[in-house]
Symmetry: C2
Subunit: 351 residues, 2 copies
Amino acid sequence: MKLQIAVLPGDGIGPEVTNQAIKVLKAIASEFDHTFKFKTADVGAVAIDNHNNPLPDATLKLCKSSDAILFGAIGHPKYDNDPSAKVRPEQGLLKLRKELELFANIRPVKAYESLLDKSPLKRHIIKGVDISIYRELTGGIYFGKKELSEDGNVASDLCEYSREEIERVAHLAFEAAQSRNNKVTLVDKANVLETSRLWRRVVTEIAKQYGDVELDFLFVDNAAMQMILNPKQFDVILTENMFGDIISDEASVIGGSIGLLASASVGKKYAMFEPVHGSFPQATNKNIANPVASILSAAMLLEHFELFSEAQLVKLAVEKSLKLHISTPDINSKYDNVSTSKVGDFIEDFI
Amino acid sequence: MKLQIAVLPGDGIGPEVTNQAIKVLKAIASEFDHTFKFKTADVGAVAIDNHNNPLPDATLKLCKSSDAILFGAIGHPKYDNDPSAKVRPEQGLLKLRKELELFANIRPVKAYESLLDKSPLKRHIIKGVDISIYRELTGGIYFGKKELSEDGNVASDLCEYSREEIERVAHLAFEAAQSRNNKVTLVDKANVLETSRLWRRVVTEIAKQYGDVELDFLFVDNAAMQMILNPKQFDVILTENMFGDIISDEASVIGGSIGLLASASVGKKYAMFEPVHGSFPQATNKNIANPVASILSAAMLLEHFELFSEAQLVKLAVEKSLKLHISTPDINSKYDNVSTSKVGDFIEDFI
Ligand SMILES: CC(C)[C@H](C(=O)O)[C@@H](O)C(=O)O
Ligand SMILES: CC(C)[C@H](C(=O)O)[C@@H](O)C(=O)O
């Protein structure tokens, strides 16, 4: 298979971890006789520095003319302290999602056997957890009208959803459930929000087309509690943009490190793959960042193109590295000095 | 001291647990020579059944003419399955908060030594946790304009905040921090929301009046993660309505049972005290519901009127009951058949 992959390394540890993912994809290409072409472009704080724009036109164009996008991370402390700044790195990511209509963000959450003891949660709570979170990514309060009164004393954000926006991500969630454990849990706040009541109505209707899938409802406050009390009850979680942001970061504690969590953001035409972790500025260029999330995002990219054996091999290599403690310090208390690139090397060699 | 206390037992286990709190308050009154007068009124599903109104005028009037309100719980499954119903129990609670201007919801989260092993979190993560959450309670997306298009295909909720709404709850949080560990963490989503940016600006300004308090910021997604990874980092958490709903329910896992968590909702004129748990319909009238949250809410009521020794005694009695395993089944694996009323009796006798 021939694929052109746009690489957007972004800020902080983004470039380092993305490099490992590229290494792994190249190994896969040579092993399975594919042609993967990589083209790099700026996004985030580095794009503001270079082009005064967190998402330069050239970057967007490259993304639109590529088959898939491999994303690193964005964010820089110099903007974090001033969230009112006119131009901010996050805008690049949000605009990319919107422009490419990446309406579904998919985050698998798994408890790896060899890492059960790394989690703040007790072993018996997380052993066997296997969740797939479907978060709506281009609607809701993220993209609704924002207003600030002239005197700067009143602010507002509008949360808006249409039936169509709910339907398209809901279908993906139900389809995923069919190839998993046949359960979808809709997380909402239908006892308070009008948008949540619309979600409940639309998703209930759609569920009728998936007779083999059980549909459950959970208020978001309760969901945040259940995620810790008994995460094994979940199979596929479906939710709106803001709740998905919170619940999926919370769920990352199950795996023992956010450095393991991959994600795919997909739409009708485009697809982007990125680690869940951020730019982790303190670790930049120290060769200590965990590349597994980025490498597993590459595996999701392979799955997206139905290269299932290839993806399987990457995941196997990752599991092997975890078992052998070829891991960065965030999850490795056994060996010192296993660097970002060493983990990448091991996984590359394994393939 | 003479106090008239409006009692709103509400639905499900509300009446049972509230009865224990009343018992405890009566014991305190006789021990310390106070006069507490209790007057009961309907709220929630039971008020819909009896008056076709989740917050009857008589109830609101009673609250307004009382010194404090002791609240049970609201919610009934017959409404949960239909969040689009015109009249719903939750409306009673939301209207009460709004009408009485209870703008700050205060939830203490503590890891009790004798319950450390009940939590899904590991002992070393939670040992010593002592957090006080200040949630804004009468603004934000809960009370903003809600719209549903005529064809029912587009819905919206407006999240709105004014400087004043932020200031008044922020002052309470900073004052609390001064009598605790001098740290306030503002939880927001300032990298996305205009309202969060207003929160950050206003709270940063207010912090200048409290030079001895350190102010920290955390994005809500990160906060949901940090609450589990390292809850000991928190002293006072300050946040808006929706985020507070999610984060405080999540934090309840630290204590080992939501059946232990008390809350106070306060405004300039009125104050209401209620357990964090809901109506728990499955347990209704089984005499198994944990009354501790309601009893600790009564302790918060006492503190509100600066009856500190009285409150201290109630808390001591609760800790004693926990240590001796005089506890309901949710946290008791040692003795069978310790009922709601037995726990109440023990605490009453202790006092
Ligand atoms: C960086 C931020 C805007 C983003 C979000 O909130 O969506 C991030 O937290 C994420 O989840 O990808
Ligand atoms: C019942 C519901 C409306 C309420 C809320 O969301 O505020 C509850 O979850 C709470 O936290 O008191």
